[in-house]
């Protein structure tokens, strides 16, 4: 960080140092030519001068990447692994369900609640039709 760094940034058009610091002889002669009138430079030379000084052009900096596919894919893989872990856990780790969860027990429980008239006005027993012995 203490040395001048090259950075491709949209909001910093001219970074601290050029992209290519070490110039070979062709680059050096091109740089010499740059000191003269720029109208004498060909298109290829102008492009070469640009590429000496900068790595990416602005459109290249703004190019879209395919990173989102990696992210979404990785996300789903993690969901999958988590799903497997949860499934294994349900099978091997959880203790057996309490007996009060059984069908028969639940049925008797509901009957008891209805007999006790739980929430008869707006709640549980209000939904039971006592005359016809069915749910409303």
């Amino acid at each position: 960080m203490s040395q001048p760094m090259y950075l491709d940034r949209l909001d910093t058009p001219l970074p601290d140092r050029p992209w290519k610091d070490v110039l070979d002889s062709t680059d050096k002669s091109l740089k010499q030519k740059e000191k003269g009138p720029w109208t004498a430079l060909s298109k290829e030379e102008k492009i070469a001068l640009y590429r000496l000084k900068f790595n990416h052009t602005y459109p290249e900096m703004k190019r879209p990447s395919h990173e989102w596919k990696t992210v979404i894919g990785g996300m789903f893989i993690v969901f999958g692994i988590t799903g497997l872990v949860v499934f294994w856990q349900c099978h091997y780790v959880y203790p057996p369900q309490p007996h009060t969860f059984g069908e028969e027990w639940q049925a008797k429980q509901i009957q008891r609640m209805l007999d006790m008239r739980i929430n008869p006005i707006t709640g549980f027993s209000a939904q039971w039709d006592y005359k016809n012995k069915q749910w409303k």
Binding site: L10, D11, T12, P13, L14, P15, D16, P18, K31, E34, K35, P37, W38, T39, A40, L41, K43, K46, I47, L49, Y50, L52, K53, F54, T57, Y58, P59, K62
Partner: protein, 141 residues
């Protein structure tokens, strides 16, 4: 804002709104001083920057610092400022930076597609005189 080489340069944020005046784009600027003071007008802002880039013995650091700061503002610089900057590039024998400046102002225009062609149209005499090709002409877009 960054401090380079120990020097502290204090810049105030400038808010601009683009207005249509006879199919030209003019920045209507309000320069806000946080400590209270006189508002700087467009012309004073432009004149200040033109003078900055017109310095005869401008060095590469000053060019970079000036350009990076100018691009940091919430505006697209006027053609006269850009002309002064391009001439500064010429004095520094730096064609690549001149092209980079053009790319930067095109990017600054954002969704307003008409600003860049207008700037190029205004800068055309300078571009031809100095022999600067736009990135479009070189196929770099």
């Amino acid at each position: 804002m960054r401090n380079w080489g120990g020097s502290v340069v204090h810049f105030n944020w400038r808010h601009t709104v683009y207005g249509y005046v006879q199919s030209c784009y003019t920045p209507l600027a309000q320069r806000c001083y946080s400590h209270g003071g006189k508002l700087e007008s467009d012309e004073e802002f432009d004149a200040r920057w033109v003078t900055y880039f017109n310095k005869a013995d401008i060095d590469a650091w000053e060019l970079r610092k000036g350009m990076n700061t100018l691009i940091g503002y919430d505006l697209v610089p006027e053609p006269k400022i850009l002309e002064a900057a391009l001439r500064a590039c010429r004095r520094l024998d730096d064609l690549a930076s001149a092209m980079r400046i053009l790319e930067a102002v095109k990017d600054k225009s954002g969704p307003h597609k008409k600003i860049y062609p207008y700037l190029i149209q205004e800068l055309r005499p300078t571009l031809d005189e100095l022999g600067i090709s736009t990135p479009e002409e070189l196929g770099m877009d």
